[in-house]
């Protein structure tokens, strides 16, 4: 069965994933919109940066974040000056790392959905007196619902499953930065296969349910 420590890691994982997903949607949506709409020549660069975590080994991203947010890194010095201390090996640290690492999983489905509705609904809304912001919430969001759903599910699931970046940036501190994937690793290291089985099964079932929700309950998605 799941021990108390295991339950604590499950709870922490859930907390990290929820918070990261909210932040991912808040930052990912404008980035995706900008990428679809902009004629800027920086578009390619930003696109590449956002997609970087897809191809980069998590340890590489984790390593650079560790250096940047550490006491001598520029981000670290800034957070210290702001009185926040340094981010590595804290809850805040793994949130920042998770958001960066899962960004492409949120930005790309949104980008696809935004591009798919085309120019026309925006023009129609403008001729009906809707400002750009109004148009975004009254027309774009409802028309790209399935894109938001995909982005949310993928962002959440990917954060839950993250291991390398969290280990690099967060370490292995019980109740603070020790998430499920790290706990499984601990159990296996300690030859506690039964415990590892329980947690691994939890993640397996969770992932399957998530994908089932995505493809089963969203018929539109299946058709496209």
């Amino acid at each position: 069965m799941l021990s108390e420590a295991d339950l604590a890691t499950l709870l922490l994982t859930l907390k990290v994933a929820c918070l990261a997903t909210v932040l991912l949607l808040i930052f990912g949506t404008p980035i995706a919109w900008w990428l679809v709409r902009t004629p800027s020549r920086w578009k390619g660069v930003v696109n590449a940066l956002v997609a970087l975590p897809l191809v980069l080994p998590p340890t590489v991203l984790g390593f650079y974040l560790l250096v940047l947010m550490g006491p001598v890194g520029p981000v670290g010095q800034l957070t210290v000056q702001l009185g926040l201390g340094t981010l590595p090996f804290t809850f805040g640290g793994i949130i920042v790392a998770s958001v960066l690492y899962s960004l492409p999983f949120v930005v790309q489905p949104l980008q696809t959905a935004f591009a798919a509705i085309g120019e026309r609904p925006l023009e129609v809304a403008a001729t009906l007196r809707a400002s750009p912001l109004d148009t975004f919430f009254s027309v774009v969001v409802p028309l790209t619902q399935h894109g938001f759903m995909t982005a949310t599910v993928l962002g959440f699931a990917h954060t839950v499953g993250e291991f390398g970046v969290v280990l690099m940036v967060g370490g292995n501190i019980p109740g603070k930065t020790r998430v499920v994937s790290v706990q499984i690793y601990n159990h296996v290291e300690a030859m506690e296969y039964a415990q590892a089985h329980w947690l691994a099964a939890c993640l397996l079932v969770f992932s399957f349910v998530v994908l089932l929700l995505l493809y089963g309950l969203n018929p539109k998605q299946g058709k496209h």
């Binding site: 026309r120 609904p121 023009e123 129609v124 809304a125 403008a126 001729t127 009906l128 007196r129 809707a130 400002s131 750009p132 109004d134 148009t135 009254s138 027309v139 409802p142 028309l143």
Partner: protein, 401 residues
């Protein structure tokens, strides 16, 4: 170039001002009427001057659209008519433009003024279905209504629904509507946003003939009820002849002719591309019925025309179109002809058509212009010349309404 266009338009303007429905003057926003505009000119209407340079296409137009009625922007595909309409709506950015609607400046790049589309009080009907798929018909209609200035007097929801006959569709989703129904809803939605200018971008082009015929009466109804300028883009001569009061002919991004519909259609100096479909439009009234022969008599300035019996009251108006190719010329009145409609007219001018065997003759029937397309050989054989009085035999009259 711009000057030449300006001159052409200036020449045409007297035609516009003296003709058509009398324009009601009103100060829409309580602004002081500028003294130079007070001199017989009305503030209502639209003045537009756009220059757009794309790599493969240049638009350079100077428009002066009357404050009431439908002005058709007519031209073949690629002539720039849709680009022009989009520039008026602010959907297309003309780098160096000027646009004034009902005395309100919407764009003046010399003074750095450019109102974004959502701040322009216009209604726009797109070519293809443009209803929001996530909203019901009712919510589509309310979308613009909710966002238009509450202070402005507009058409009531019920009124628009009645005019476009869509009360049975209100609860439906756009995907459950036919193409014609969608366009009717789109037109009602545009009306409800309290526009001071209505723009139509080939609203019937995506529909089949039957659906087109279904919608035209609704557009005519709008034409009769609305007191705002309407710009109607079309490449269909029939639609234009049926709906428009004023005509702007566009070719390769330039205005080639502009003015009152009847006057402009009767011009023979237009590019050959337009000559093939040449014909005039006549606004007539029902002058009598000949029930024995199932005929109705249409009276107009130049005489009378007999057409098949119309189910309309005496005195009601009717618009008809006479193609130049359906008019033949006779030096004497042919009383022993089977052709019913023979009208006396005077030759005004003659011009070449794109087919060198034919010429286009402009006639004047007591003030009403007529066009006849005859062979060059007939022109010479009959010894025709300007000012010659003759008889025009009209083989067919196309009726609208």
């Amino acid at each position: 170039m711009a000057n030449r266009l300006k001159e052409t338009l200036d020449k045409l303007m007297p035609v516009r001002v003296g003709q058509g429905v009398p324009e009601r003057r009103k100060d829409l926003h309580g602004h002081d009427v500028r003294p130079e505009l007070d001199e017989g000119l009305d503030q209502k209407g639209l003045k537009a001057c756009f220059k757009i340079n794309y790599p493969e296409f240049n638009l350079e137009v100077d428009l002066d659209v009357p404050g009431r009625g439908i002005t058709a922007l007519f031209g073949h595909s690629g002539s720039g008519k849709t680009t022009c309409l989009r520039a008026v709506a602010g959907l297309e950015r003309a780098a160096n433009g000027y646009l004034e609607v009902n005395g309100e400046v919407w764009q003046d790049d010399n003074r750095g003024i450019f109102l974004p589309t959502h701040q322009r009080a216009l209604g726009y009907v797109f070519q293809e279905a443009s209803l929001f798929a996530h909203l019901s018909v009712r919510d589509n209609l309310n979308y613009g209504l909710k966002r238009s200035a509450a202070s402005t007097q507009g058409i009531a929801f019920e009124q628009a629904v009645e005019w476009l006959d869509i009360s049975a569709l209100l609860a439906r989703r756009p995907e459950r509507l036919s193409g014609g129904e969608r366009q009717r809803v789109a037109i009602a939605r545009a009306l409800l946003s309290k526009p001071r200018l209505l723009l139509f971008d080939e609203p019937l082009a995506a529909l089949d003939l039957k659906r087109k015929a279904e919608i035209l009466p609704y557009l005519e109804r709008l034409h009769d009820h609305l007191d705002i300028p309407m710009l109607y883009v079309s490449h269909s001569p029939d639609e234009v002849a049926r709906l428009a009061d004023h005509l702007v002919l566009l070719a390769e991004g330039k205005v080639v002719a502009a003015g009152a519909l009847q006057e402009t259609l009767a011009r023979i100096d237009l590019p050959a591309a337009f000559a093939d479909d040449a014909g005039v439009v006549i606004d007539a009234v029902i002058g009598g019925h000949d029930d024995q022969n199932y005929l109705s008599r249409l009276d107009f300035g130049g005489g009378a025309l007999f057409v098949s019996r119309q189910d309309k009251a005496l005195g009601s108006g009717l618009r008809c179109r006479i193609h130049a190719r359906d008019v033949s010329l006779n030096l004497e009145r042919a009383d022993n002809s089977s052709i019913l409609n023979i009208i006396q007219a005077r030759v005004i001018a003659v011009a070449d058509t794109d087919n060198p065997a034919n010429v286009l003759v402009r006639l004047d029937a007591a003030g009403t212009p007529l066009l006849a397309r005859i062979t060059r050989r007939s022109w010479h054989n009959l010894g025709l010349a300007p000012n010659r009085l003759l008889w025009a035999q009209i083989k067919a009259v196309a009726l609208f309404n």
